[in-house]
């Protein structure tokens, strides 16, 4: 099954040019690993980038720059055909995590419970007021109605997340992007746990009493 919810074209452009945040880049890279359609689009956008580089007028380098680089080359370049991603730790086996996520996993050996039904692995990024986490939602749990203090990017790896408002369903490889002011309530589909990358570039703002209570008891 290929994903049904994709990164919009302008998001892919900002990924290719490097104009997006680290969190957005991680989310896009995870989606691309699971979505041949967007990966092909990115390859085409990189082709445009290459053409612009090729067509650009050069600037003369300071004398001696080439010699200085040659002196620093050392021996033969590395050989590997591809940069291998590390294997998933045992407690995450079966989550089908893509390489970009495996490369940023800390050395934890377990999930950390934040609130009942929701466990996380904190990823090593610094986001003021926000968080970048791998989250495991127990099947059937709801995420109460909330708003976002900054953009939110979710990429689903196992199970599914459902939007309460419009019934849209996000399964493996799907991306959900929400901006501040876009309020929603979600539910992990009953059954299999939903494991997803959740990037919040601002604080979540619960809009219900239950949400505020959950936030109050949540362990950071």
């Amino acid at each position: 099954m290929t994903p049904r919810h994709h990164v919009p074209e302008h998001g892919l452009v900002e990924y290719v040019t490097g104009a997006c945040t680290e969190g957005a880049a991680l989310a896009v890279a995870c989606h691309l690993s699971l979505c041949p359609t967007c990966a092909a689009e990115v390859a085409a956008l990189e082709g445009v980038a290459g053409t612009l580089l090729e067509a650009g007028a050069g600037l003369e380098l300071a004398a001696g720059t080439l010699e200085s680089v040659l002196a620093r080359l050392g021996g033969t370049p590395q050989r590997a055909g591809h940069e291998e991603a590390p294997a998933a730790p045992e407690f995450l086996a079966g989550c089908g995590l893509p390489a970009p996520l495996l490369r940023v996993l800390p050395s934890n050996d377990r999930w950390r419970t934040v609130v009942p039904g929701m466990r996380v692995v904190d990823l090593p990024f610094v986001v003021p007021d926000g968080a970048i986490r791998l989250v495991r939602f127990k099947g059937g749990v709801t995420i109460p109605f909330h708003d976002h203090g900054g953009p939110e990017y979710i990429v689903v790896f196992t199970g599914a997340l459902e939007e309460k408002n419009d019934g849209r369903r996000f399964a493996r490889g799907d991306v959900s992007i929400r901006l501040p002011g876009e309020r929603h309530e979600q539910r992990a589909a009953p059954g299999e746990a939903c494991v997803a990358l959740v990037v919040n570039e601002g604080a979540l703002r619960p809009l219900t009493l239950r949400g505020r209570l959950l936030l109050a008891i949540a362990r950071d």
Partner: protein, 178 residues
């Protein structure tokens, strides 16, 4: 690139002479201080040497790959500047999250011929569409920054990017069938 991956310095020198000046211009366009751009270009070219074996011609042109190496380098510079006090050495160049290789389809392959036709197509774009591509790709602006600079709403910039890319595809397809 294959020769460079085998450690061929002459091949690396040819690549350097052809692309290093363009990379320097690109880095300056993206905000590198003129005094620092020679040093940064050196770092990018060293990364090219180290990673030469990772270049896969099935995934795109050499120029496209060099663009991504420069982008990853700038991205990691920014990241380490935000993290650590000034003066300390930065990370290696690998902090930009690259996707694991997805199955490449025929359409992603950009031959040298298509490269030339794409370059020709760029010239045929309306100026405002070319300007957003230049701003985003060459200078690394976010679309929001393009919008501010060109004094148009963000939605207009998104539309121009979409139209520019559609048009490039159309122009290229037209050339291919000729």
């Amino acid at each position: 690139m294959a020769a460079i991956a085998r450690g061929d310095r002459a091949a690396f020198t040819r690549l350097f002479l052809r692309y290093a000046p363009k990379i320097k211009a690109h880095l300056e366009a993206r905000g590198a201080a003129p005094g620092a751009s020679d040093e940064l270009t050196q770092e990018v070219m060293l990364a090219v040497w180290r990673k030469a074996a990772l270049y896969d011609p099935a995934r795109g042109s050499v120029a496209a790959w060099l663009y991504t190496i420069s982008r990853n380098f700038l991205f990691s510079q920014l990241r380490s500047e935000r993290r650590r006090p000034a003066g300390e050495p930065g990370d290696d160049v690998d902090t930009f999250p690259e996707p694991s290789p997805a199955p490449t389809s025929e359409q992603t392959l950009l031959s040298a011929e298509e490269h030339r036709s794409l370059a020709a197509s760029l010239v045929e774009l309306p100026p405002e569409q070319r300007a957003v591509l230049q701003g985003a790709y060459w200078r690394g602006q976010s679309l929001q920054e393009c919008a501010v600079e060109q004094q148009v709403p963000l939605g207009t910039v998104k539309t121009r990017v979409r139209l520019a890319l559609e048009r490039l595809r159309g122009l290229m397809a037209g050339r291919r069938t000729k």
